[in-house]
Symmetry: C2
Subunit: 358 residues, 2 copies
Amino acid sequence: MGWENNVRRVTPYTPGEQPKEDKVVKLNTNENPYPPSPAIRAEIARLENRNLRLYPDPAASELVSAIAGVYGLSEKEVFVGVGSDDVLAMAFMTFFNGDRPVLFPDITYSFYDVWADLLGIPYETVPLTDELVIDPADYRRENGGIIFPNPNAPTGCALPLSAVEEIIRANPDGVVIVDEAYVDFGAESALPLIHKYDNLLVVQTFSKSRSLAGLRIGFAMGNEKLIAYLSDVKYSFNSYTMNRPSIVLGSAAVRDVSYFEQCCEKIVRTREAAKERFTELGFSFPDSKANFLFVTHPACPAEEIFRYLRERHIYVRWFDKPRIRNYLRVTIGTDGEMEILFAALAEYLASHGQKGER
Amino acid sequence: MGWENNVRRVTPYTPGEQPKEDKVVKLNTNENPYPPSPAIRAEIARLENRNLRLYPDPAASELVSAIAGVYGLSEKEVFVGVGSDDVLAMAFMTFFNGDRPVLFPDITYSFYDVWADLLGIPYETVPLTDELVIDPADYRRENGGIIFPNPNAPTGCALPLSAVEEIIRANPDGVVIVDEAYVDFGAESALPLIHKYDNLLVVQTFSKSRSLAGLRIGFAMGNEKLIAYLSDVKYSFNSYTMNRPSIVLGSAAVRDVSYFEQCCEKIVRTREAAKERFTELGFSFPDSKANFLFVTHPACPAEEIFRYLRERHIYVRWFDKPRIRNYLRVTIGTDGEMEILFAALAEYLASHGQKGER
C-alpha cells in the first residue's frame, strides 16, 4: 500500500508497567508514595463550576503565577507543559536546532535519544565515569547544546552546584538544560544560576515531589528570552495543552510549600534508612539524592531478583541496557512498602545462600 | 550570544481571545454554550480517590474503550490525544513524512500550515471555489497526503459523504485525514468508510459537541494499522499525555449519548434560526453545518463590526487574511446570547443607514 511509504516508523519508548491490581507494591516508576497536598480537595469540589465547556487559559497564567510566586521569579521566567516530558520535548525542538551534536550522558533518562532521533537532532552520548557519575570535564567539547538530569536517572547521583556551573560556564554557545525531576529530594537546584547564565534552562515536574503524576504538569525556569522562544514553539503546536483541572489543582498544590517540604523530608528519611538496609543485604549503589536507589548485588543477577519480586507483586524497574543490566532501580515508597520489599529480598537472598537476615 | 543560533524561530499561532471577564457574550472560539453532561458530576466527586499521585494509564484505556463502545469500534481503532490539535499534530508527524506535498484548502483551520512549517512537511494549498467550498476534483493530483475539515472551518460548509469518498478513492497512496471537529452539528461523518479505506483517518474532539474544551480531549478513528503507527509516534514523544481527570471525566461524558444528542439538536435549532436573522439583517454566508456561521455584509466592513461588538463585550472572530477579510465567524451560543448579538447588530446597522430593525 502506497500510503505506508510516507509513514514515520519509530520504535516506541516502553514506559514502566502500570499494574492495574490494587494490591501491589509499586516501586517502579518513581511516583511519590504520599497523596498530593490536601489543598487540592477544595479545588476538586469547585471543578464543576470551572467552566469545563470553555477552553483553558492558553498561558495557564494561574499556574505560572503560582510557580513564579513560590520560586521568586517573574511570570515571564516560567513555562509550563503537560509533564516535564512535554516541556523537554518542546525544549529539544526549540533549542537543539543546530548542526553540531547535542551532548547527554550515555546512561540517563531514556527519552533524550528518542526525542533526538524523532526530531532529527544530531547527538553524542558522553559516558559516565566508572563510578556512574557525570564528569564536567567531559562536557568541554564542541556541541549544539547539553542536557543532563541532576540528580541523574536512573543512577540517582547528584552533581554539586559548582560542577553544574562548570558545565554551563564552559558552554555559552548552546542551551544547557538541567533536568531536575528529582532535585527536591536533596540535590542542589541550578535555579539560582538562571540570572547569571542566559542559556540555562532548569526543568522540574509535579510528578515526583508534588505527588501529582496523574495530572501531568512540568515546568521550565529560565531567562525571559529563553522562555519566550519556548512559548512561541509551544503556541505553534498546540495552544491549549494544559487542561483546566491541571491548572487549578496544580496551582493549589504548588502553593502548599509546607506539605511539600514534609513529604520530601519523609522520603529522604526513608531513603537513607533504605541505604543501610540494602548495604546490610550485600547490595551496593551509587549515592542517591533522588527518590530511588540504583542497586546491584555482587552475587545475584538483577534480572532474576526483578522477576522474583514481580511474582510477589513487588514492582521495581530493570533496564535491559549496556552497563546497567545488573542494576535495579527501586523507588522509595512508604516505610511499610520498603519493609515488604526488604523482607522479600532477604528471603530471596537466603534461598540463594546469601546472608538474608538482618 | 552563540546559543541563539541554534534556536528555532517561529511565528506563533494566535488563538482566539479568552477574555477573563465573566459578563461577556463569547462567540469567538466555537465552544458549546451548554455545560458538559451531568454524568461527570459523580466522577468529579470521586477524583480525590483517583490516585492523582500515580501516572495515568498511558493507553487511556478507559476513555478509548468508552469511545470505541459509543462508535461501535474495536479499541485498536481508536487513538486519543490532548485535544484534536495534539491528535492532528501527531498525525502530521506520523503520516506526512514523504517528499510530495501534502494538500489542504487555502481557507481552512489555521494550524495546518503552522504544523507543516514546524515539521518541515512540504505542502500546497488548494483554493476553495468562489462559493468557498471544497471541490473534490481539485484533489486529483500528486500528493503526500491530504487533510481537510468537514465541515470546513471557518466557512462551516460540509461536503456530502459521497464527495468525501471521492477524495479518498482518488488518493490511495497517501493518508487522508478528515478533521471532523464540527461534524456532530449536522454533517455526515466519514466514519463508516474506515473499514473500506485503510488510509482514512477520522479525527474528532470533545471540545465542541461534548462541551469539554476545558479538558482537552481529541480522538482519531481508523484501521488498526494507522492507529498503531500513530500510537508508536505518540509513545516516542510523551507516554503520559492524557491526565487522570480527562480520562475519567471524558469517559463519563462520551457514554452519555442522549445528553450529547440533545445539546447538538439545540445548537442546530439556534443556528437555523440565526441564519434567518442574519439574512433579514442583510448578511450573507455559506450554508453552515457547524456550530458557527461565517457571515459577511455587503455594506459594512467585517473589521468594523468586529470592533463595534467587542466594545459591547460581544466577542466574535475576525481573521485578517486574504479572501476572508470581510467575514466574521460567529459561534452559535444560547438563544439568549444570540438575541444580545442580533440586537447589537441591528443597532449598528441602523446607525450606519442599513436596515437594522426586524
